[in-house]
C-alpha cells in the first residue's frame, strides 16, 4: 500500500498528486492524508467519479482516505475534470447573425447533443434560452430525452416570468439566480454554445 501526505497543499495539488499516485501504481491501495473540508471532498469526488472505492476516517490532524479498486478506463479525448459540466444557454439562438439561422442552429445543436456520449450534468436556460423548454418549442422532445439520460435541466424563473411562460414550462424545472450562480462557480467546466 502506498501512502501520500497531501496536507497543507493548495487546491488543486491534492487532486493532482492523488491522480499521479493512482496512475503510477494501478491496482495498489492508496492511503491519502488530507486536510478536512474542500481537499477531502474534491479528492473523494475525483476518486469516486473515476470508479474507485473510497473509505474515509477522521484523524487528529486531518482525514485519511483509503482509495482502492481500479479506475474505469477513460476514453481517448475525454477531458479529465473534477466536478460537474454545466452548459449555459442564454438565448434561443446560436451565435450572432440572422435570427432565423440562429434559431435553426440552436435547435440543431440541442438535438445533436443526443448523439454524444458525454452529456453535460446540468443545462441552465437563461434569458430567451428558457423558451426552448416551454410549450411550442421544437426541442421539447430532445430536452425530455436529455432529462431521461440524467441531464438536470433548469430554467431561470425571472426569465420565465418576463416572457409570461412560467405556467408553460414543459421540460425540466424552474430555478433561481442563486442556484444558477452557484452552479457556474462550482462547475469543473462551463460550456456556452
Amino acid at each position: 500500500m502506498k501512502i501520500i501526505d497531501c496536507r497543507n497543499m493548495a487546491c488543486p495539488l491534492p487532486v493532482v498528486s492523488v491522480k499521479r499516485a493512482l496512475a503510477e501504481s494501478p491496482g495498489e491501495a492508496l492511503q491519502v492524508l488530507l486536510d478536512e473540508g474542500a481537499p477531502q471532498e474534491n479528492v473523494a469526488r475525483f476518486a469516486v467519479n473515476r470508479g474507485f472505492s473510497v473509505a474515509e476516517s477522521v484523524e487528529e490532524d486531518g482525514v485519511t482516505l483509503m482509495i482502492t479498486g481500479t479506475a474505469v478506463p477513460i476514453c481517448a479525448g475525454e477531458v479529465s475534470t473534477v466536478g460537474p459540466t454545466v452548459m449555459l444557454v442564454t438565448s434561443d439562438c446560436l451565435g450572432t447573425g440572422p435570427e432565423e439561422l440562429g434559431r435553426l442552429l440552436m435547435k440543431n445543436f440541442i438535438i445533436t447533443l443526443l448523439d454524444l456520449d458525454h452529456l453535460p450534468d446540468r443545462l441552465l436556460l437563461v434569458n430567451s434560452g428558457v423558451l426552448l423548454a416551454t410549450e411550442g418549442s421544437e426541442v421539447l422532445e430532445a430536452l425530455e430525452q436529455l432529462g431521461s439520460r440524467g441531464v438536470d435541466i433548469l430554467s431561470c424563473g425571472i426569465c420565465l416570468d418576463y416572457f409570461h411562460r412560467r405556467n408553460k414550462l414543459v421540460a425540466g424545472a424552474v430555478t433561481n439566480m442563486l442556484t444558477i450562480a452557484e452552479s457556474l462557480l462550482t462547475a469543473a467546466r462551463v460550456v456556452r454554445p
Partner: protein, 88 residues
C-alpha cells in the same frame, strides 16, 4: 429522434430545407427539422422528419411548392431504407 416507421427527407441545400420547413409550418403539417442522421449523407446536415400518417400530405406539399426533397428514407429497424417520393 427518428423512431421506427418515421420518414426523413433530405435536401442538399440549407436554403431549400429552411424553405421546406417554412412551407410545412404554414400548412400546419406536423414535422420537425432535425440534424440529418449520421447514416444519411446530407450536404447541409439537416433533414425533415415526419410520421408515416402525414407522409402523403407532406411530400405533396413539398413537391407542389417546388421543394421536392433530394431523397426520402424510412426508418426500419436500425436501417434507413430509401423510399419513393409521393408526388401525386
Amino acid at each position: 429522434m427518428v423512431s421506427e416507421g418515421d420518414y426523413v427527407a433530405i435536401f442538399n441545400s440549407i436554403h431549400r430545407v429552411m424553405k421546406a420547413e417554412r412551407l410545412l409550418k404554414d400548412r400546419r403539417l406536423p414535422m420537425l427539422l432535425i440534424p440529418a442522421p449520421r447514416a444519411l449523407s446530407a450536404d447541409c446536415g439537416l433533414a425533415i422528419r415526419y410520421a408515416a400518417v402525414d407522409r402523403q400530405a407532406v411530400e405533396e406539399a413539398l413537391t407542389g411548392g417546388g421543394l421536392a426533397p433530394e431523397h426520402v428514407y424510412v426508418k426500419k429497424g436500425k436501417e434507413f431504407v430509401k423510399a419513393e417520393i409521393s408526388d401525386r
